[in-house]
């Protein structure tokens, strides 16, 4: 049978499985089967692509045994290493792992473009300007996604701590981008795809540098939006290279991800009340540090067991978890504590900020891991008005997402970001490791309020103390 026919039939099946799988992933009930469906599609698509060995040009067939071995080795090596790292990474480190895997995809797309630019004869097509333009566009997007994702990973992983900014950064970035576009345009229209190797290499280096420059100034709080944006970028780059290679599977999957990722990015940015433009041209905290308002009141530390006892006798407790909970891996102990409260007829609910734990839905995943049923987990918009009726609001390792300054203080750099109204509760307890600032670097006036008490310590240890305090009370 004709190899091309088999390849194309399998691609149609794979494209269907990708879309169907993503569709299933968009509902909590069917989500698990969704990834398996998409995985089957991927397995078919990858295996069948080895049939390209049959359809390759005569010139390439001379190298086929070497090429096939290289492909097999690269495939196995990549799968084993990524599978192993993905399995052992902690749930809290998920965002940066997504970033790095996404970067790899962008890098692969850029490499396909490189292969085309170094040897336009690869796919045997004549040089068509549209094809070259799309190749170069895919190269830029893919390379930016690669280097940008690597920086995002390094930042989230704590390997790069500084937010690197220089004055006139936007002009620098703009200039670098223009140079990249200029060389790209020359490669298409001046060199007709036959640019000198040195120039093509320079093109890629400058594009990669642009990705670094673009990501370095972006603060950690904005990172989820950026990762999501690069996810969309990689999708678009893959779609573009799919067109270049005349490969329908890449075109469809890449474009679906490009569109879905773009929408997801907008949704995330909206949840943080930041425009995507604002995030990318990041003027987050540049001129804000001086504009901090004076904060009145003082920090009032209290004992974990006192806080626990008060919650035990409360009617209604709302818990606002944040990144600190995730870092301390305290979600299991927290749920144990919640179950104790529920046994004493306390109405306990979870209030989840859209970006709690650094990424939309990240906190839900962590709570689900601990076995918290999702009918007591509420989105911010659903529960924000309920804080008024709560006796106690328990903030665990959250900071910026509960800062009332976002609602009241125009000078605050996070002004306008929707926040949980924990300060409406009669009593607020904040479990926190120390007196540090939140990710945005803003001082939180909530901690200084009269009805707020601080419980210092690692969230997990504090939860253990709280559980003990309730158990000590007995059934009284």
């Amino acid at each position: 049978m004709d190899a091309n026919l088999i390849i194309n039939v399998v691609y149609i099946v794979a494209a269907f499985l990708f879309i169907y799988g993503l569709k299933r992933m968009s509902s909590p009930v069917t989500a698990r089967s969704g990834i398996v469906v998409a995985g089957v599609g991927m397995l078919f698509a990858v295996l069948v692509s080895f049939l390209y060995a049959v359809t390759a040009s005569e010139a390439a067939k001379a190298h086929m045994s070497v090429n096939l071995s290289l492909a097999a080795v690269a495939l196995i090596l990549g799968v084993v290493v990524a599978y192993w790292t993905g399995k052992k990474v902690a749930m809290t480190a998920m965002p940066q792992m997504i970033a790095i895997y996404n970067g790899l995809g962008g890098g692969a797309a850029a490499l396909i473009a490189a292969s085309e630019l170094f040897a336009p004869a690869v796919s045997g097509e004549s040089e068509d300007v549209v094809r070259l333009v799309v190749t170069v566009i895919g190269a830029i997007i893919g390379a930016v996604s690669f280097s940008g994702s690597v920086i995002a990973w390094a930042k989230l992983d704590g390997r790069i701590k500084k937010t690197w900014r220089v004055s006139g950064q936007q002009f620098l970035n703009g200039a670098v981008m223009l140079v990249a576009l200029g060389i790209g345009a020359y490669l298409v229209f001046g060199a007709h795809g036959h640019g000198a190797v040195g120039l093509t290499v320079a093109f890629f280096i400058i594009t990669l540098v642009f990705g670094v420059l673009m990501t370095m100034p972006i603060g950690g709080a904005d990172m989820p939006v950026v990762i999501s944006l690069y996810n969309a970028f990689t999708g678009l780059a893959v779609g573009a290279e799919g067109f270049v290679l005349q490969n329908p599977a890449l075109m469809i999957a890449g474009m679906v991800v490009g569109a879905a990722g773009t929408l997801l990015t907008l949704l995330m940015a909206k949840a943080m009340n930041r425009s995507v433009k604002n995030v990318i041209f990041s003027n987050f905290a540049v001129e804000s540090s001086a504009a901090q308002g004076e904060i009145e009141g003082s920090l009032k530390p209290t004992d974990a067991s006192d806080a626990a006892v008060q919650m035990r006798y409360a009617q209604k407790v709302i818990i606002a978890p944040g990144y600190g909970l995730a870092v301390a891996q305290a979600q299991h102990k927290l749920y144990e504590f919640v179950k104790l409260l529920q046994a004493h007829d306390v109405d306990v609910k979870f209030a989840i900020h859209p970006v709690a734990g650094r990424m939309p839905g990240h906190m839900n995943v962590l709570l689900a891991e601990a076995g918290v049923p999702y009918d007591i987990i509420h989105d911010m918009d659903d529960i924000n008005e309920e804080f008024k009726e709560a006796d106690v609001a328990l903030v665990i390792g959250a900071n910026d997402t509960v800062n009332p300054a976002a609602r009241t203080q125009k000078s605050s750099p996070i002004y306008g970001m929707p926040v949980l109204k924990v300060d409406d509760a009669k009593q607020v307890y904040v479990i926190k490791r120390g007196e540090g600032k939140g990710y945005s670097g803003v001082v939180n006036e909530l901690f200084y309020r009269d009805n707020t008490n601080m419980v210092y310590g690692d969230a997990q240890k504090v939860m253990v103390k709280m559980i003990q305090a309730i158990k000590d009370l007995g059934e009284g």
């Binding site: 879309i19 196995i76 929408l263 997801l264 689900a368």
Partner: protein, 102 residues
């Protein structure tokens, strides 16, 4: 081989891109926010299909330079596929229906 080799030029490609974009938009449009991270991870896995393109480039390579580029491309693509799958699956594993209460 020309008989079945597909060719997407100009408008046909634009139609494919347009329809695929709508599909992606529709899939995400009605998703509860709790699934945003898993779905981002899932779509991250799906663009791992780039691996297939890299295999194509590598199998058609005729010079050492192309072989190196193709090799790294397949390596990256495979990392995207496997990593994206494992991370997504681990996340989704945790979504168990809550049937214990009430």
């Amino acid at each position: 081989m020309e008989a079945t080799a597909l060719s997407f030029t100009g408008f046909v490609a634009l139609y494919i891109f347009m329809l695929a974009a709508f599909t992606g938009y529709e899939i995400i449009g009605r998703v509860p926010s709790i699934l945003h991270t898993p779905l981002m991870s899932g779509s991250n896995f799906v663009h791992g299909i780039v691996c297939v393109g890299a295999i194509f480039a590598l199998l058609n390579a005729t010079t050492p330079l192309e072989q190196v580029i193709g090799f790294v491309g397949v390596l990256f693509g495979a990392g995207n596929v496997a990593g994206g799958y494992v991370v997504t699956e681990r996340m989704l594993e945790m979504f168990k229906p809550s049937d214990k209460k009430k």
